[in-house]
């Protein structure tokens, strides 16, 4: 029996761990300050006789990691190859949490978005047009209030549709300034040989080869089994990269 791996990602304090507990049972401690989910916590649940493995990632504001903890989240999203990424947004701080969701949708296409804390947003007088958001993002969007267990069934259903039934989505891609789009267009043909690797979004790869520090480029090579020869050229010149692709 193969499990569907679901990565749970989101900003700190959006109720990720509460959602994790609500979905998997009482196995994980939630405190709302950084550091409490330092390592990945895992739990499982089943839906329609399918088993799901839920991986609770440390909270992060962006995939441009700054601390060891944020790196854990980034690396799992970029290289961990989960079957689905459940991006948890904060209904009271939608814009800030969309920053992360858009970056996640740039990496992977199997994304389900959950707008949590809908109850608190309502208390603050904020209303969110969920169907408009789903249309705009191009992925399933589920409103939820994990503390009062609202939306759990719908989340499971969406995870099932994406992760098990394989419903495909076409996530919205971030539009960059003209100069950046031009650079991406120039680089993409050179990545054509990677087409056999479906997990990696070529646009994302092109961008990261452009803007990442050498350490992260080396990591890309490591995770997708690219061999970077010679390694020293990265440190020396930080430009010409030769990869051999198995």
């Amino acid at each position: 029996m193969n499990q569907t791996v679901v990565a749970l990602a989101g900003n700190p304090n959006v109720g990720k761990s509460t959602l994790f507990n609500a979905l998997t049972g009482l196995r994980q401690h939630t405190g709302n300050w950084p550091g409490k989910t330092v390592d990945r916590a895992q739990g499982s649940f089943s839906y329609r006789e399918k088993s799901f493995l839920l991986v609770d990632l440390p909270g992060t504001y962006s995939l441009m990691a700054h601390s060891a903890e944020e790196e854990i989240a980034r690396d799992f999203i970029c290289f961990g190859r989960p079957d689905v990424i459940l991006a948890v947004l904060d209904g009271t701080a939608l814009e800030r949490s969309l920053n992360l969701a858009l970056q996640i949708m740039e990496v992977a296409s199997s994304v389900v978005v959950c707008v949590n804390l809908m109850d608190e947003a309502a208390k603050k007088g904020v209303s969110i047009d969920i169907s408009a958001l789903a249309a705009e993002l191009g992925v399933p969007v589920i409103p939820a209030a994990a503390r009062s267990k609202h939306g759990l069934e719908e989340i499971k259903k969406a995870l099932y549709a994406t992760g098990v039934l394989g419903h495909t989505a076409k996530p919205k891609q971030i539009r960059y300034a003209a100069e950046i789009e031009e650079l991406i267009r120039r680089i993409l043909p050179r990545l054509a040989d990677l087409k056999s690797e479906p997990y990696f979004n070529q646009r994302w790869l092109a961008l990261r080869l452009l803007d990442s520090p050498p350490a992260f480029i080396a990591k890309i090579g490591h995770y997708i089994h690219l061999q970077n020869t010679p390694t020293s050229s990265l440190r020396k010149a930080d430009n010409a990269h030769e990869y051999s692709w198995e």
Binding site: G31, G35, L98, K124, V126, S127
Partner: protein
């Protein structure tokens, strides 16, 4: 095998100066556009009670007093609440010990067998359980409620400028909170600190926060030497204040050592940090209670029991193997004694701390067993009796103060050292993490002892 050659030298150098900022800027503006399309503010948000509360608990005037009172309050609840269950547990477990010994005798077991199993293993276990369980079962849920409520980030906010002054990171405070539970967990939690320099400072000083393994020791010693083991309401408050005082001494050393490290081996500027003050949320009563009891209390207790059982056997063997006219414990203690006396401790105390390296929980049981092995063996069911044993072995208030200080400041337990080695990947830093607190503990005890003796106290 496909070989892919990507030469992006021109592109990278063409955009190197602006690409990162532009990419981040574009992500933000995309998010903003999307958010504006779906958001509607139906009513103006008012100045909530949360904001008012935040202004109070993080204010210059009330922030610190509120924090101190809260901490003392928690200790008071822990101490007063654990008194009765501790005594009951001890009475029950030691009554069971007599019964078990009776069973062994009735079955005709040899003296060494029931000595090893009952007087050694069981006796130590009973001590660890009755002394540790009640305070932990009260302290952990209370602390977890504070966490879930969202108060801890406010503490970090309050303390941030002090850490800035010590050239360390404000997030260090959160790793210290973790250290109250377990220093090994505290060390692992330093991963939230971005700068490697500040992270090392946080790792090296985490030990100055007393973990739950040391709490029962601190509580027991502080109680018997503050109140003589009696329990009146104001005396409990005095004990709570004494414990809070010990914590603040630890806090003081954290700042002092952090500052010293930042001035010497780990020089550098303090990095800025963005600390979000999450909204206050009503803690979920039952889940928090369940999790703090199962995940923390029982987990820690199980670890202590696993270490205490073999330790109990070893101590019993040491105290019942004679070489010449005294048992091995007495020999070892006599060997350490002159050195320990110089620092205001005694040989038995120092040996208990050394043997307690695997877990701080077993320091007091080891100490008692070794004291009692050279005197008449008796059951200790109350703190008043414990006080009697300690006084009979020459303890004064000065010894008690030194033991409190030594327990607070001495070397980390082996689990923590292992975590430090794993996190830093360096034997050098691990050794420093051992040497630095040890040197601090010995010098503090020496200072206190010499000053007290000089003043003729």
């Amino acid at each position: 095998m496909i070989r892919l050659y990507v030469d992006l030298a021109d592109e990278r150098s063409a955009c190197a100066s602006w690409i990162s900022d532009r990419v981040v800027g574009d992500i933000f503006s995309n998010a903003q556009t999307t958010a504006r399309q779906v958001l509607q503010q139906s009513s103006a948000p008012e100045d909530s009670w949360q904001n008012k509360l935040d202004r109070l608990v993080t204010s210059r005037r009330f922030g610190y007093p509120f924090m101190f009172l809260l901490l003392i309050g928690i200790f008071w609840l822990t101490i007063s609440g654990s008194n009765v269950p501790s005594t009951l547990l001890a009475q029950g477990l030691f009554a069971l010990e007599d019964w078990l010994r009776g069973c062994f005798l009735a079955l005709g077991s040899p003296a060494w067998l029931h000595g090893l199993l009952i007087s050694g293993v069981y006796h130590t276990l009973a001590w660890v359980v009755s002394v540790m369980l009640p305070p932990m079962a009260i302290f952990f849920p209370l602390f977890t409620y504070l966490e879930d409520l969202g108060y801890l980030p406010r503490v970090a906010f309050n303390l941030d400028h002090l850490f800035q002054k010590a050239n360390a990171c404000g997030k260090q405070c959160l790793t210290m909170c973790m250290g109250f539970g377990c220093n090994a967990a505290g060390v692992v939690s330093t991963r939230i600190i971005h700068s490697p320099r500040e992270r090392l400072i946080a790792i090296l000083t985490n030990n100055f926060v007393p973990c739950n393994g040391r709490f029962p020791t601190l509580i027991a010693i502080a109680t018997i030497f503050t109140t003589g083991g009696a329990y009146l309401a104001y005396q409990q408050a005095a004990v709570a204040a004494a414990i809070a005082g010990v914590i603040f001494i630890g806090l003081g050393f954290t700042f002092l050592i952090s500052w010293g490290l930042a001035k010497t081996v780990l020089q550098g500027e303090s990095s800025s940090l963005v600390l979000e003050l999450p909204p206050y949320r009503r803690p979920q009563f039952w889940p928090v209670l369940y999790r703090s009891l199962i995940d923390r209390t029982l987990f820690v207790l199980r670890r202590a029991v696993f270490i205490a059982a073999p330790a109990g056997a070893i101590i019993w063997l040491l105290s019942n193997c004679y070489w010449g006219d005294a048992n091995l414990i007495t020999h070892a203690a006599a060997f350490l004694d002159p050195f320990a006396r110089f620092f205001g401790l005694d040989g038995f105390i120092l040996m208990a701390f050394i043997l307690g390296l695997p877990a701080n929980e077993i320091v007091i049981p080891i100490l008692l067993m070794s004291y009692l092995s050279s005197a008449s063996l008796q059951d200790i069911q109350s703190l008043a009796q414990l006080r009697g044993v300690l006084l009979a072995n020459g303890w004064t208030w000065l010894t008690a103060v030194n033991v409190l200080l030594f327990s607070l400041l001495h070397w980390p337990c082996s689990t923590t050292l292992l975590s430090i080695y794993k996190e830093t990947g360096s034997l050098k830093w691990t050794l420093l993490a051992f040497a630095l607190p040890s040197a601090t503990a010995f010098s503090m005890c020496l200072l206190v002892t010499q000053v007290a003796r000089l003043l003729g106290l």
